[in-house]
């Protein structure tokens, strides 16, 4: 297992603990806008870029679907593949919302991931810095925002 790489240092501890306790193979923490905050298990910025874009889009669709079907947005989603499974959920710390997507296999289980995700969420609440880094809202420059966050995780293009 590799240590998480993060754009905001305060999420490194909770991410590492979630990765180890829930025995996740890979995971990405991001803002709902698609900007990556931290990741583990990926060595390629393009993979994280795709995951951020897809997770952000899936969250937006699922949120709206939940609202229409159940009157409130869905909180988490789970996809069980033949070998690997994907867990996707929203986490909030203060007023700030995050999305998390994690990948696991038979070494873990959905129940175990849910437990440690709950602890991860509590850790985010506890460790949220009083003065948060400015998180720009969606500016319309989705690709630019995504690239800037990937630079923070993997280094600028050309040095990756």
């Amino acid at each position: 297992m590799t240590d998480p790489t993060v754009a905001e240092a305060w999420v490194a501890g909770p991410l590492r603990r979630l990765m180890e306790d829930a025995r996740l193979i890979a995971g990405v923490l991001l803002y709902p806008t698609g900007r990556a905050v931290g990741q583990f298990g990926f060595s390629n910025a393009a993979d994280v870029m795709s995951i951020c874009a897809l997770t952000s889009a899936i969250n937006a669709s699922a949120r709206e679907l939940g609202r229409q079907l159940d009157g409130k947005p869905f909180y988490e989603m789970h996809h069980a593949g033949a070998e690997r499974q994907v867990f996707m959920a929203r986490a909030s710390a203060g007023a700030q919302e995050f999305l998390f997507v994690g990948v696991f296999d038979r070494e873990s289980s959905l129940g175990v991931v849910e437990i440690y995700f709950g602890e991860f969420q509590k850790a985010l609440e506890k460790l949220l810095p009083e003065k948060q880094p400015a998180v720009p809202g969606p500016s319309g420059d989705f690709e630019g925002e995504l690239n800037r966050s990937l630079d923070a995780l993997f280094g600028p293009i050309g040095k990756r």
């Binding site: 069980a80 038979r106 873990s108 289980s109 959905l110 129940g111 175990v112 849910e114 437990i115």
Partner: protein, 120 residues
């Protein structure tokens, strides 16, 4: 095959059983659960966590048992300071009980294994 609710009801009536659950073996999620005897605060979380980690532990114990060429584990009991967690596998589910320290473990074991045979 007995209905899972009937299995849970039967196990929860065994003296010393604080909570009885039928849990998905692969996902660790609760299929059916009894109320928590004594109605402790956060009983939902206690059962949810015990179910997920109990099923996880049982899957690891199964691997250890296979590695030692002993076949499937018949019964797993974790003895802790304030009681026991008992787990028995029944194909796609595991039966998990939280038991008081002074419970008749022989009775708990027998009833869980009988219930598991009905489930399999």
């Amino acid at each position: 095959m007995k209905a899972v609710s009937q299995v849970v009801a039967t196990l929860s009536r065994v003296p010393g059983v604080i909570a009885a659950m039928v849990v998905g073996a692969s996902d660790g999620l609760i299929v059916e659960t009894s109320a928590m005897l004594g109605g402790a605060d956060g009983a939902g979380d206690i059962r949810k966590h015990t179910a997920a980690l109990g099923a996880y532990l049982y899957s690891k114990a199964t691997r250890a048992s296979h590695a030692a060429r002993l076949g499937n584990p018949a019964f797993m009991r974790l003895e802790a300071e304030h009681g026991h967690i008992c787990v028995v596998g029944a194909r796609d589910v595991v039966l998990v009980t939280i038991v008081t320290p002074d419970a008749n473990l022989g009775r708990v074991r027998l009833d869980m294994m009988t219930a598991a045979k009905g489930e399999a």
